[in-house]
């Protein structure tokens, strides 16, 4: 226990006072703003550009108990060349798997430049001793994961024990070494937008490179207004500290239309600086094929069908 616990960066009371001193979020207003941005109409050249950007931002994900090396290799092939019939399609940002399959993915993606992201820290519930969580992280990093997607201890957060959450993130941060750290807030369990804003700041302050909405195992997963609140958080955090943190909505993003709405949200909330795979990712599995299908509609002028894209 002793070696695994990093003392909190500030006193527990100070941390609590800081988080509770953040401006509140009015749910109705945030929902309304997100809904209004969702009415933006993205056409023609802008749409083509946005689809390619969205593809390049995808963290292509498989997180099933039934995952096998074969399944992961297939996904990696898809990641490197999403549309075998069209080489102009960019590769995705990363492949996201469980920690025990990192090695398979790293080998499959060798030479492609695509990173491997691994969920860790007793994903998805986060209910394990810290030592086990850190061992999980170290194993993934040792197997070659370039990115670690950790989950926070929602129980501790909801109990107001922010210092524990903070200490855990800092410990994972250290265990990551050079790997990027994405901190999953599991906003579906945090419920209120005030909590989402507080958890975002807590994670950023503890060293997150990305803040991520969801595991995909809890409903609701990513939503536009939750992502809006997180984009406001990274925007404000940069203004306050100069450090830029990325955002990753994950789960429930299935269509091109959805993906474009997220890009609009990024563009008009955090700003165009965030419109890069370095700072914005879409955690998804089925989204990619819809992006490919819409892309082909734009290039060929006719509607395509699912049989023309690979199921991986």
């Amino acid at each position: 226990m002793s070696t695994e616990t990093v003392p909190p960066g500030r006193g527990a009371a100070g941390l609590r006072a800081f988080l509770h001193g953040l401006p509140g979020v009015d749910r109705v207003g945030a929902d309304e703003r997100a809904a209004r941005l969702a009415t933006r109409s993205i056409k023609t050249t802008a749409k083509a550009q946005a689809i390619d950007l969205a593809i390049a931002m995808v963290d292509l994900t498989t997180l099933e108990g039934a995952d096998t090396p074969g399944k992961v290799r297939a996904l990696c092939a898809k990641a490197a060349r999403p549309d075998p019939e069209d080489r102009s399609v960019p590769p995705v940002a990363a492949v996201c798997v469980y920690s025990d399959l990192v090695g398979v993915a790293v080998e499959a993606l060798d030479g492609t430049g695509i990173g491997v992201a691994s969920v860790a820290t007793a994903f998805p519930s986060g209910r394990a001793p810290l030592a086990a969580k850190l061992a999980d992280v170290r194993a993934a990093v040792a197997a070659g994961a370039a990115e670690i997607d950790m989950v926070i201890d929602r129980g501790a957060f909801l109990a107001g024990d922010y210092a524990t959450v903070d200490a855990e993130i800092r410990a994972v941060r250290e265990a990551c070494g050079d790997a990027h750290l994405k901190v999953i807030l599991e906003t579906g369990e945090l419920v209120t937008y005030d909590n989402v804003r507080r958890a975002s700041w807590l994670a950023m302050d503890a060293g997150a490179d990305f803040i991520k909405t969801s595991t995909g195992k809890v409903s609701p997963a990513a939503t536009l207004p939750v992502t809006l609140v997180m984009l406001e958080a990274v925007r404000d955090y940069r203004a306050a500290t100069g450090r830029t943190v990325g955002v990753k909505p994950a789960g429930g993003i299935r269509t091109t239309k959805d993906a474009l709405k997220y890009l609009v949200l990024v563009n008009e909330t955090a700003g165009p600086d965030w419109l890069t795979p370095d700072l914005f990712r879409l955690g998804a599995s089925s989204l990619l094929n819809d992006l490919l299908m819409q892309r082909r509609k734009l290039t060929t002028g006719v509607y395509s069908g699912p049989d023309h894209f690979t199921l991986d």
Binding site: D26, R27, V28
Partner: protein, 286 residues
């Protein structure tokens, strides 16, 4: 004159402004005569500057009076009824001086007392009857409540007491403050009534009573930019137009409706005429 007959002490009838009884700043008065034509007393003949002072007093009293709880306003209105009842004999006598028969004078005082009682009970029910929640199509709690419109200028009808009470009570029950031009031919009971108001825990300035010439005072009231509403019930139909035109200067609410003096239930129209409806919206969310 025999020495054993006491020389009575007579009352000087003054104005009622801001809770005090000043003379008209103009120093003017006019003789008031009884039904038989005999001299009763000199009443103050208010000037435009008295109108101005009365409006200032009413405006000053408005925030406090409108912020009282409805329960408290109701209690004070009921206190007015108590005080009036206690002075029943005095008012009967004054009304008889003003020309009413014995029976009519008694009935008028009784009706005036009963009217205060009726309105006193309205204070804490008005918002329930005139307000409501609004079932809007969205995640908002919205409600509409009645609020007093502000300073109300009233030109009271001729009747000496019940007309005055009928015009005044519905104005102040909701939190408005009032500047009233009393009956021109029979102003004395109005000033005596001010004594009732002054001893009823009614804050100074909530009611301000002026006596004098309607034709002289009403236009100043109608044109005053700090008066929110105008009750022209005591103005002859032929005289309404210029006053209503002057009232348009600051878009006063203008009301004119015969007082239902004999009705057991005077209705709510007079109260509602001096209300504003405020609609408040607030989001509903976690």
């Amino acid at each position: 004159m025999t020495s054993d007959q006491r020389v009575d002490v007579r009352k000087t009838y003054k104005l009622f402004i801001g809770g005090a009884f000043p003379r008209s700043e103009s120093g003017r008065s006019y003789p008031v005569t009884g039904a038989e034509g005999g001299f009763l007393a000199n009443a103050a003949r208010a000037s435009r500057k008295d109108v101005r002072d009365a409006v200032v007093a009413a405006r000053k009293a408005f925030p406090g009076w409108s912020a009282r709880t409805p329960y408290n306003r109701g209690q004070i209105l009921y206190r007015i009824a108590e005080m009036l009842e206690g002075r029943r004999a005095q008012f009967v006598a004054e009304l008889r001086d003003a020309g009413l028969g014995k029976g009519a004078a008694g009935a008028e005082v009784d009706a005036a007392v009963d009217r205060w009682v009726w309105y006193a009970g309205w204070a804490d029910k008005l918002a329930a009857v005139a307000g409501n929640a609004n079932p809007v199509a969205g995640p908002f709690f919205t409600f509409s409540t009645p609020e007093p419109t502000g300073v109300v200028g009233s030109v009271a009808p001729d009747g000496p007491l019940l007309d005055l009470v009928s015009a005044l009570a519905p104005v102040i029950v909701s939190g408005n403050t009032a500047v009233v031009v009393a009956s021109e031919p029979a102003p004395l009971p109005a000033i005596t009534f001010a004594e009732v108001l002054a001893t009823s825990d009614l804050p100074g300035g909530v009611v301000n009573l002026l006596t004098g010439r309607r034709a002289e005072l009403a236009p100043w009231l109608a044109g005053h930019m700090d008066v929110n509403a105008l009750d022209l019930t005591g103005v002859a139909e032929t005289d309404v137009k210029p006053l209503a035109e002057a009232a348009a200067g600051n878009l006063k609410r203008v009301f004119r409706d015969p007082v239902r003096a004999d009705a057991e239930d005077p209705g709510t129209a007079r109260m509602q005429a001096f209300l504003e409806i405020k609609t408040v919206w607030h989001p509903v969310g976690v």
